[in-house]
Symmetry: C2
């Protein structure tokens, strides 16, 4: 068998791969943060950060003074990883324990957004992802805030999803054992909002109270 | 000010750093997976994987045939990142939106566990982390399963936590605006276990039914 040299194709378990846009986008849209890995002086570094997908790119932001942002805005290669955990997979043997997950890995390099209006749009998409429907409700973003913040875009051209679903795959001879096997689903959810001390009698806006 | 060259000390927001063992361990013990970043041919790669902390090391496992495992078992530098999201921080301005999180970053290189009994112990810790109390209930791990699996340890000597807690930090002049501000707590929980089709009338064991 020819050696697999495509970094997007795992050496094993290729059946868990999915490069369809639909799958990749749905994972990216559900995840609240990604982990960005890069190389500095030959060594690996990784930083978790919020992000948003819009069309065929993802966008992140950060302070213009951030060491991390200043490294990757140069356009060096990055590897961006997103993981959602769906269930612990409980088999009859420790060996077949697993997790159900949906992950995306992508290779890209940053494209710095210089246009002010485009930056504002990226911040709008980011804000509305973290808190859907909130952008129009907030105090308007000031020019100096836009200037203090870097926005970077990354192409999704080199992105692939990897996932596991379903029940444990026990050894045939273990299926008769009197051992319970199945999955423990995991759920991440937003709880009721908690107001800060300055919110007083301000009603919770509809985009935060609706579920 | 002298240039900060310690990779564990962030260039900004140093107040969010915490290198105490107690904080680092509690984050590692709560997280179900870590993201391991490494460099191959000068480029960054990242893989999410299950892990367990035991005393002052973390342990991962993988197939002896895994390309990823074979790369990092050589002892090349890795950066391991763990992130827990606690809340979305909703400010009066988009600029002050944030997230409450607890993260750990550590720099290390793999130490391959060659001793069979030590490997078994690492698998026991891993299994009991994913499904607490399960190791003694399961079909015993076979020697060939131990042989097919690589166990790697990483020192926590170069680990640090970074975290944000609390309410939004709005600009003073925004505090009087009629805009709701606060946090939306996030919760990740285990739901009721779901049996596979071979579990029949086998009762759910106590370590899975207890809460």
């Amino acid at each position: 068998m020819a050696k697999n040299t495509d970094p997007l194709i795992p050496s094993r378990l290729a059946k868990r791969m999915d490069t369809s846009k639909e799958t990749v986008y749905s994972i990216l849209d559900e995840a609240l943060y990604c982990t960005i890995s890069y190389v500095a002086e030959g060594k690996p570094f990784a930083i978790p950060t919020a992000f948003v997908r819009y069309e065929d790119k993802i966008y992140i932001h950060g302070s213009v003074g951030s060491h991390f942002i200043r490294e990757i805005e140069k356009g060096i290669p990055v590897c961006i990883s997103v993981t959602l955990m769906d269930a612990v997979v409980v088999a009859r043997s420790a060996f077949h324990h697993s997790v159900n997950y949906r992950s995306v890995i992508l290779f890209a390099s940053a494209e710095k957004i210089e246009d002010t209006e485009m930056k504002r749009m990226a911040f709008e998409w980011l804000t509305d992802k973290m808190v859907p429907g909130s952008w129009g409700y907030l105090r308007e973003m000031k020019n100096n805030e836009v200037n203090k913040t870097t926005a970077l875009a990354f192409s999704l051209e080199q992105a692939a999803a990897k996932l596991r679903t379903g029940m444990p795959k026990d050894d045939e001879e273990d299926l008769e054992l009197p051992i319970w096997s199945g999955i423990i689903p995991l759920e991440t959810r937003r709880l009721a909002p908690v107001a800060d001390e300055h919110s007083g009698n301000i009603p919770l806006p509809a985009h935060l109270s609706g579920e």
